[in-house]
């Protein structure tokens, strides 16, 4: 362990931030050892805090209170308001483009109108098969993503801390990572016994690389001073890993998990479009083959919603362990 610690020491200088050294003579005249100024920094901080608040409130009370409230409400809701407005404008433009068969380079002649998409969606909601498509996709994501999290974080932690493992594994990552999911499809079908397993494999690959790379990044940026502190408090390698490296890497791991979730949907869809009989990607592509244009858009929007929702869930799950990174006052 210490060999590593020592190696780290030589190329890492956590204590490099030095105060600029003034000529000592200057220090002498300025410094004033006065023990009566014993107010601690805590009370000083409280005071300055209080000043800020009072300044803020005197400014605010210059406005009539009712206007004040309306203003506050507006401030709270305005981003929501703008969002809704912006979506509405988009829908109207879409509607206009389709009913007037807009065709200037981009062709809206065969594009379903927003209303027809809405009614197709409601029709699908009454169809059990629609839910099966969604559930099958969700199951694939769940299986593939779980394996990716497990292997990705594990691999990332190992190659983040071990120079030898990194040298051995990194070439694979560099070669395989840029290959898009679609390019994997033929080989995946040849490699895996069932269509299902090849789709899950492709989905897994999509999630894997962002997770590995952000884990490695997180491990690498562990402040060396914290590792040293832990060593000086008696921690051995495994404890340093558990109590310092892992928590320090968590913010980066968390963002890798969120990105990985997005990419896994991306890859899943590639797999589902080309093979399979179920899944929301299959649903979308099948709608095209059946010339059922509104369902194409229904499928797309469902994919978008599920992608956002699952990424949001990942963030939500990670949030408690990242409490310490949040800004506070």
């Amino acid at each position: 362990m210490n060999v590593r610690a020592l190696e780290k020491c030589t190329d890492d200088r956590p204590d490099e931030v030095e105060n600029i050294l003034l000529p000592e003579e200057q220090n002498f005249t300025v410094e004033n050892h006065d023990s009566t100024k014993s107010s601690t920094e805590d009370t000083l901080e409280l005071k300055s805090d209080g000043v800020d608040h009072s300044v803020g409130s005197t400014k605010k009370t210059l406005k009539p209170p009712v206007l004040e409230k309306v203003f506050a409400l507006y401030k709270k809701t305005d981003s929501l308001f703008i969002g809704v407005l912006s979506i509405s404008v988009g829908l109207v433009l879409w509607h206009l483009a389709t009913i007037y068969s807009f065709n200037f380079y981009i062709n809206f002649q065969n594009i379903p109108t927003p209303l027809s998409v809405g009614s197709a969606f409601i029709t699908q909601l009454a169809d059990t098969e629609f839910y099966i498509h969604i559930l099958v996709s969700l199951k694939r994501i769940l299986v593939a993503y779980s394996i990716a999290v497990f292997l990705g974080v594990g691999t990332g932690l190992v190659i983040g801390r071990s120079r030898m493992m990194r040298a051995a594994v990194l070439p694979y990552i560099e070669i395989i990572r840029p290959i898009p999911a679609v390019a994997w499809i033929p080989l995946a079908i040849l490699m895996w016994p069932t269509e299902e397993s090849s789709i899950v494999y492709i989905t897994f690959l999509g999630a894997l690389f962002p997770i590995i790379l952000s884990t490695v990044h997180g491990v690498e940026q562990t402040p060396e001073v914290l590792v040293r502190a832990a060593l000086s408090l008696g921690a051995k390698r495994s404890k340093v890993f558990l109590h310092v490296v892992l928590p320090a890497a968590l913010p980066s791991i968390a963002s890798g998990l969120a990105i990985g979730m997005g990419v896994s949907w991306f890859s899943l869809l590639a797999g589902e479009v080309i093979s399979g009989q179920y899944g929301i990607g299959y649903f979308t592509w099948n709608a095209y083959s059946l010339i059922n244009y509104p369902d194409i858009v229904v499928g797309m929007l469902v994919i978008g919603a599920l992608g956002s929702l699952s990424t949001f869930l990942v963030r939500l799950i990670m949030r408690p362990s990242l409490r310490w990174t949040l800004p506070r006052n």
Binding site: T10, S35, S232
Partner: protein, 282 residues
């Protein structure tokens, strides 16, 4: 250096534990970085004998090798030649017998203040109950009982450093190694921290190796000041500080203090002039 006031039982235990141990010997230690043409000798054949319980300040400008020397005692760095001994045993790696206090940002930001202080005892295998009681003892020693559940990011810089000291002491180390622990604090807070460090030290009686580039700080705290200079890093003066203890910050105007300060400054000035002439000759 012992506590003047009535000694509680606990204090006596601290002293008995510590006073017999904590001798640091640095024998012909040379430390260098890099190799070949890039070789940089950071510490040049240095020998020191620091008896148990002594408060030693290492004083010198930035980059002269203070941290490097301290890190070799901590066990983070292996000397190129020579040995560091703690109580006759060679230092080969970091360990809980040498408590380390860094300049800043060294608390585990994801652990509460309480968990930070209890970390050492927990690693040492104490039960949760023991860890809690040790942490509480040290929390009240640094006057931060109310902050136990807070995260380090919620504390001021001065409070964080107090927690850092408490965390290092919670292992009852024989030596406390402090690398410019107050260097990032404002002057006012620094004075308060210096006094409270002396109070704490008077209870524990551990050996302290304290790095600073502030002459006043060194004189105010130390039994002994080692002045270090760069190119390559070495000790150029070894001064005893005979000021009586307990010390209060108004001691800075006393004649002895000013005398000592003049002495320190003249050593430093001689060195910087040498360095200056060297650099202009090139």
């Amino acid at each position: 250096m012992k506590a003047e006031k009535g000694l509680t039982k606990e204090r006596v235990i601290h002293q008995k534990k510590s006073i017999s141990r904590g001798r640091v010997n640095i024998n012909d230690v040379t430390i260098s970085f890099g190799s070949g043409a890039n070789k940089n000798i950071a510490v040049e054949t240095t020998t020191l004998d620091i008896p148990p319980g002594e408060f030693v300040c290492i004083l010198g400008p930035s980059g002269c090798g203070k941290s490097t020397l301290l890190n070799s005692v901590a066990g983070y760095i292996k000397p190129a030649s020579g040995q560091v001994l703690l109580d006759e045993k060679e230092v080969t790696q970091p360990g809980p017998d040498r408590g380390m206090v860094f300049q800043q940002h060294s608390l585990f930001p994801w652990k509460t203040v309480h968990e930070n202080i209890a970390f050492g005892p927990k690693i040492a295998g104490h039960s949760q109950k023991e860890c809690d009681s040790i942490a509480n003892t040290f929390l009240s020693m640094i006057g931060l009982q109310g902050m136990a559940g807070k995260l380090p990011g919620e504390l001021s810089g001065g409070m964080q450093q107090r927690v850092g000291i408490a965390r290092a002491l919670a292992n009852y180390p024989s030596v406390l190694l402090m690398d410019e622990p107050f260097g990032a604090l404002d002057a006012q807070t620094r004075l308060i921290m210096q006094e409270s460090l002396l109070n704490i030290w008077s209870e524990f009686g551990t050996t302290v190796l304290f790095i600073t580039h502030d002459v006043d700080e060194a004189i105010f705290l130390a039994d002994r000041i080692l002045i270090m200079s760069a190119g390559p890093g070495s000790i150029i003066a070894d001064l005893n500080v005979e000021l009586p203890r307990p010390r209060h910050s108004d001691i800075a105007t006393s004649e002895e203090f000013v005398d000592l300060k003049r002495k320190c400054l003249s050593h430093i000035r001689k060195e910087s002039l040498k360095a200056f002439e060297c650099s202009t000759n090139h």
